[in-house]
Symmetry: none
DNA sequence: TATGAATGAGTCTTCATTCAT
DNA sequence: CATGAATGAAGACTCATTCAT
């Protein structure tokens, strides 16, 4: 059993390196992380990183494929097409997104800094791997909801996805330092999830006297 | 007068270097930008950068003080204290934020990557310079609105500021590559401003049959 | 029998590695060839090369002994001593040299770059293995011919061997790239052999009116 | 005067590095010479080499252009075209070649190992810079001599240039180790020049009884 | 035999920084 | 002010070599 490197629970060096790289890239940024740091994190020499990944760029490729894209794929499994109910989808999407980030806390910083933000080092790699028409279908889904009177017509469907990412991921990307601020200490995944969903669906303006909003609120309480 | 480098109209090398540094840091990230690149952008040698800023870290300090903090100060001038009307403030804040980014397009990428995000190279420097109690006062302002029934009580006041930043700044931080996507080409500052304000205030759920919401909408059309 | 790795017809890994190493060293130079390249050429890992040769330097030793020196020994079998007929010996020597290189095309580049040329990586190893007095005997053989009036007295016996090597081996060492030049395409071993022998024996000056030269020429046509 | 780096006799660092590189490449081979060795030879750090030449490959380019090609150009100045007298040209060419190598002793090893020989690291760079038609014109010159009965018709004009290089340069490329052999100690440039010219023109076969050869010999004595 | 994993030493290259001019 | 020359420290990558299996 000890001689079986792929045995469940037994992490081989390659996998450990991938984990360390992902974590350090998320923590300090890709540009600021050296191969030697990654190696040291696992207790091997930097030559080992080259042994497994050949080059720094190949390491990035591996992270994209074996870590980030897996997350992305699982996240979008929910989305079945442009005919979906937009409100229901967004609720589920946000929930899954925030939940997923709990087991993969490296995702928010990586996604924000290295993919979304200008000059992100993974942007191109991710762009090439994301299904071209997904964004379009999502827009169509929202636009459909607007036509049917289910979705606020003053929302721009082209910007909504980015808004969701900004609302859900940015706080998580800031979380580590966040936690150092005393008054934010207690904040947890569920608080964030509730806040984001509420903001996305109903905004900050209070409207409880309104029967429609009341109905909405009741629905929301699952 | 010759000793007054910031004299109006006098575009001296130091100022140009600061501009170039800010722009390049925003574009490629601080860690990925070399002193030589900054110098080349202005047409001088990297020794000049040291002449004016002594060290790389001092250059960062100067950028924080003479660029970023100025932006931040002007942005928060609006905020007069925890007794303000939260809705009105947020509307004005978002407007000013997005407008300000038009003349200082380096702000969103810098803010997102180097300040908010984990491992940001300016985080500590900024933290030390931001008034400690500002965040608290903002939270109190929101909480006050909630008590008075003006603000949605399911919103978390501790998270709202980050939400605003995420909604307004993240799209701008992504803008340069954004623009390459054909269907997003026409998107302008005003589209973003409208979308963000609408989302923040009312969310995506459509509620036009409700007279309160109607009233709200009319108010919003300034 | 299993312990006899050089058994006839048994092309074992060790022999293949020696071949690959010799070929690659000839093609790219010893310094520019890695153990891994040699191993890959045979389809094994570089650890195998160490299994058979222990170290890079030992591999060089093996090549010298089992490849180069065998060639050298066979080449000089012709030379029976300083009393030989110099002209006849040189004719035979050149012929055998060029012929031998056809089955061992790695010899010219190796000999020129790694043995004769300054800084050659095999020079010392070869020097130690070549019979000390051979060069001297060859010189005596030539000097004898000069005394007897058979050999041009303006030739320097100390330099002649090097001249022969330069004439015969250098073109072969350059051959691979040589062949890319269109006008040299047809050039074969026999052309070279004829050219070199003719140049060595009679030089480029035409002297057909002279009866002695005529006699010489007729002799040459075998 | 001391502040004038291009003042006659005062070698600036760049020039010294070029000299050191050329010498070391000639002595040990390009592949076996490190940037640090070159720098150490001049008493600076290896970073300086990159300061002046940016990259190892650029350094090679500079050596080709500022050292080797200058030699080559001066060498071929003698050659005025295919109508030249071949015998006279070859005599002059050999003399100039061997003489030039006395002040530039790095040339023979470099030319033999890195240009002529298979896998030479400068081959491509030199090929691109040598006039395409030069070889052809030289061949025509020889062929013309053969037609006019001045040149031995059994010589192959396509191989002659390589023969000259082999005869003149190979001994020089081997010289440094050569000199360690006691019996070769006294050998000088003039011995080589005489030997090579004699061999090229008349070969090793003695033919003094022949009046034509006699006449030739007299001519040869300048 | 044969391999995969691992390493230490070394190479090229980059870059912030210094300093004399 | 401004530069060119110089450097030390560090980073990515290579490679011969070792060793347990």
């Amino acid at each position: 059993m000890s001689g079986h490197p792929s045995a469940k629970g037994e992490d081989n060096t390659r996998e450990q390196l991938l984990d360390a790289a992902t974590a350090l890239f998320a923590e300090n940024g890709i540009a600021a992380t050296t191969i030697a740091q990654i190696a040291a994190h696992v207790g091997v020499t930097s030559a080992m990183v080259h042994y497994y990944f050949k080059t720094r760029d190949h390491l990035l490729d591996s992270i994209v494929e074996e870590r980030i894209m897996r997350f992305d794929t699982r996240l979008w499994e929910l989305f079945t097409g442009s005919e979906m109910d937009p409100i229901a989808f967004i609720k589920a999407f946000v929930a899954r997104l925030i939940e997923g980030c709990e087991t993969m806390p490296w995702l928010p910083p990586l996604w924000i800094r290295e993919i979304v933000n200008e000059g992100g080092l993974l942007r191109e790699k991710i762009m090439q791997r994301i299904p071209i028409d997904r964004q379009e279908k999502f827009r169509d889904c929202i636009a459909g909801g607007q036509k049917r009177g289910e979705v606020n017509r003053d929302i721009d469907p082209r910007l909504l996805l980015m808004s969701i990412v900004g609302l859900a991921l940015l706080p998580l990307a800031a979380a580590k330092t966040w936690k150092r601020i005393p008054s934010l200490e207690g904040l947890g995944k569920d608080d964030l999830s509730r806040h984001v969903t509420e903001l996305l669906l109903n905004g900050i303006v209070f409207s409880s006297v309104d029967p429609v909003a009341d109905r909405k609120r009741q629905n929301r309480k699952k």
